[in-house]
């Protein structure tokens, strides 16, 4: 069972996230960066399936040079090797372009499963696995809170509001996972030491056979036109309880059409 895990480097969840004023893309330079949190669950799930079924776990990440830090973290958790797609021409690519570039990279690899986090904390689009499934013509199983693999069949429990659905597909397939699925491990010191020695292939656009005019900000199908900061919070309205506090609160909620 060979598994590819897609990993994204994002601004630290705890940091103030900003867009770059000049080209309105995500400002990655001025903040700490981390592995997208749900991707840690994806790596963990791949490692658990590997422990059970053998095979190799390969990390794939599209990121600027600095993305190496995040890839190494995935390797230190226990993944076997990594492919890093890094090219200045990718800057500003939107989700559609990114799915094109990642599909090209996946095309160079042999795998039974692709596992990814269900969404990234920076863009919050939750659309990468469907886009990839469409481009690759492979089945997609999304929102998995449990994954089981049996021969050429992969079955998931898909988290829903009221419970879960059981969905299955034949491999190769693309699976996205949610946080409920497992508890990701912290890398051990041995894992950290080993990570540096694991194979890490860096690909440019040309290496991956990606056409330069189909990626990057200039040709992006969707672009940020304008952005502004969240307005500061307004001071709330204080209701003094003089025996009729409940009534006043209810009146307020009704006036806001909340009840």
């Amino acid at each position: 069972m060979n598994i590819v895990v897609l990993v994204k480097q994002v601004p630290d969840t705890w940091a103030e996230r900003k867009l770059d004023a000049t080209d309105k893309t995500l400002d990655r330079a001025s903040v700490d960066v981390v592995m997208n949190e749900i991707d840690e669950y994806a790596v963990e799930e791949a490692l658990r399936i590997q422990a059970d079924q053998g095979g190799e776990v390969t990390i794939v990440s599209m990121a600027p040079d600095r993305g190496v830090e995040t890839i190494r973290k995935a390797l230190s958790m226990g993944a076997d090797k990594a492919v890093h797609l890094s090219d200045p021409a990718l800057h500003g690519s939107d989700a559609v372009q990114t799915s094109y570039a990642l599909a090209k990279v996946l095309g160079t690899l042999e795998y039974d499963l692709v596992i990814a986090g269900s969404e990234a904390t920076d863009s919050r689009m939750a659309i990468m696995t469907p886009l990839l499934a469409e481009r690759l013509g492979q089945p997609q199983l999304s929102g998995a809170r449990k994954v089981t693999v049996d021969g050429g069949t992969v079955r998931i429990e898909r988290q829903t509001d009221n419970g879960y659905d059981v969905v299955e597909a034949s491999t190769p397939a693309i699976v996205s996972v949610v946080e409920k699925i497992n508890e990701p491990r912290y890398p051990s010191f041995k894992g950290i030491m080993a990570a540096k020695k694991k194979p890490l292939t860096t690909l440019t656009l040309a290496d991956a056979g990606i056409e330069a005019d189909r990626v990057g900000l200039a040709s992006a199908p969707s672009q940020v036109v304008e952005f502004s900061n969240k307005p500061p919070r307004q001071a709330g309205q204080i209701v003094k309880d003089e025996g009729d506090g409940g009534v006043k609160v209810a009146e307020y909620l009704a006036s806001q059409k909340l009840v």
Partner: protein, 383 residues
């Protein structure tokens, strides 16, 4: 030229433990401190990361790292929770390290794999109700009878000695008289449980509430003769060697405590407003925090230097004492300033700085008091 930049792996280890401390340790720190409970789930997490085996070779179940790596980990843990940090520190440098340094191959094979895995904890019983740094005061005895040591006596303030995971207590005991008429002191391995060995109820401490500390009593405890650790009569000398290293580890933990006080104070000074602006915009507060940062930085530099000398095989006794002295005082001074920055909230136990305030006092006392460090430094100066 001294280079204090971390390697990529060291930086990665530091960051991993920083995340672990923030995500796993911090959320339960207040509760364990309040309830005085041992953080088994945190210890389990540290064990899974291999931290208990960090500085030991892989052949004994270790991680193949070095003592400096351990120090980096202790600093990160100490920033958030000193009880957790001291549990690891004592488990490694007092529990496993003596066996690694002075044990026979058989003793190493028997004890190190389980201690390195963190599934078992070891403790070291040196201090007695009437003897800490003064070895001559040791009253615990071990008499060799029919191929077994019969141990009698009491030990005091022994870390990790009464947890559900405790499997080993190494004790120093008087095993005879030297030719010059002094007490002959040896170290002996006591498996837990052994009949006659009791960890008495835990101490009611000022701080380090989640760290496990007990008085121990030995009443006709019998262990095989082979449980002698190291040479007979070298028990105290060997332990002094362990203590020199241990000072660097405690300095690292203390540096973490000092830094944790800075972290909390910066955060609070930016958030908390008084008279229409964040209190950090007042120099009375900003300068106080700047001085705290300077203390933490100086402490870190001191322990990095001591660790570098030790790993290079150079004399490091004086540097270790200086690091322990400077870092311990930095922790206590920063804790006092940090609680002041926090005003009334700094007096509330759920605030991390109040815990640092209670926890840091021991950093000027444990593993050699400030006065002992000064004595050692003075001695190195020929005074």
């Amino acid at each position: 030229m001294l280079d204090t930049r971390l390697t990529e792996e060291q930086a990665s280890l530091r960051k991993t433990v920083e995340e672990f401390a923030r995500e796993v340790v911090a959320p339960v720190s207040y509760q364990h401190d309040r309830d005085r409970t041992f953080p088994y789930e945190v210890v389990r997490g540290m064990a899974d990361m291999g931290l208990f085996g960090l500085p030991f070779p892989e052949q004994y179940g270790g991680m193949g790292g070095d003592y400096f790596a351990l120090c980096l980990v202790l600093e990160e843990l100490g920033r958030v929770d000193q009880s957790v940090a001291i549990t690891l520190e004592a488990g490694v440098s007092l529990g496993a390290m003596p066996v690694f340094r002075f044990g026979t191959e058989e003793q190493k094979q028997q004890w190190l794999p389980q201690l390195c895995s963190g599934r078992a904890l070891g403790a070291f019983g040196l201090t007695e109700p009437g003897a800490g740094s003064d070895a001559g005061g040791t009253r615990t005895t071990a008499a060799l009878e029919d191929g077994a040591w019969r141990i009698n006596g009491n030990k005091a303030f022994i870390t990790n000695s009464g947890t559900d995971l405790t499997r080993l207590v190494t004790v120093t005991a008087v095993t005879g008289q030297t030719s010059s008429g002094k007490k002959e002191i040896s170290s002996i391995l006591v498996p837990v449980p052994t009949p006659g060995f009791t960890a008495e109820p835990a101490y009611d401490k000022v701080g380090w509430h989640a760290s496990d500390t007990h008085p121990l009593s030995f009443q006709d405890v019998r262990v095989p003769e082979e449980n002698l650790l190291g040479q007979r009569g070298r028990g105290y000398a060997n332990f002094l060697h362990i203590l020199d290293e241990g000072r660097i580890a405690i300095a690292a933990l203390s540096t973490g405590a000092a830094q944790g006080c800075v972290d909390e104070s910066v955060k609070y000074a930016k958030e908390r407003e008084a008279f229409g602006r964040p209190i950090g915009q007042n120099q009375a507060i900003a300068f106080k925090i700047a001085r705290m940062e300077a203390r933490a930085h100086a402490a870190r530099t001191a322990y990095y230097d001591a660790a570098a000398k030790m790993l290079a095989g150079l004399p490091f006794k004086k540097e270790a004492s200086i690091a322990k002295l400077v870092a311990g005082e930095a922790a206590m001074d920063n804790a006092r300033d940090a609680t002041q920055v926090h005003g009334g909230y700094g007096f509330m136990n759920e605030y991390a700085v109040s815990r640092h305030y209670r926890d840091s006092k021991i950093l000027e006392v444990g593993e050699g008091t400030t006065e002992v460090q000064l004595m050692l430094i003075a001695r190195e100066l020929g005074l």
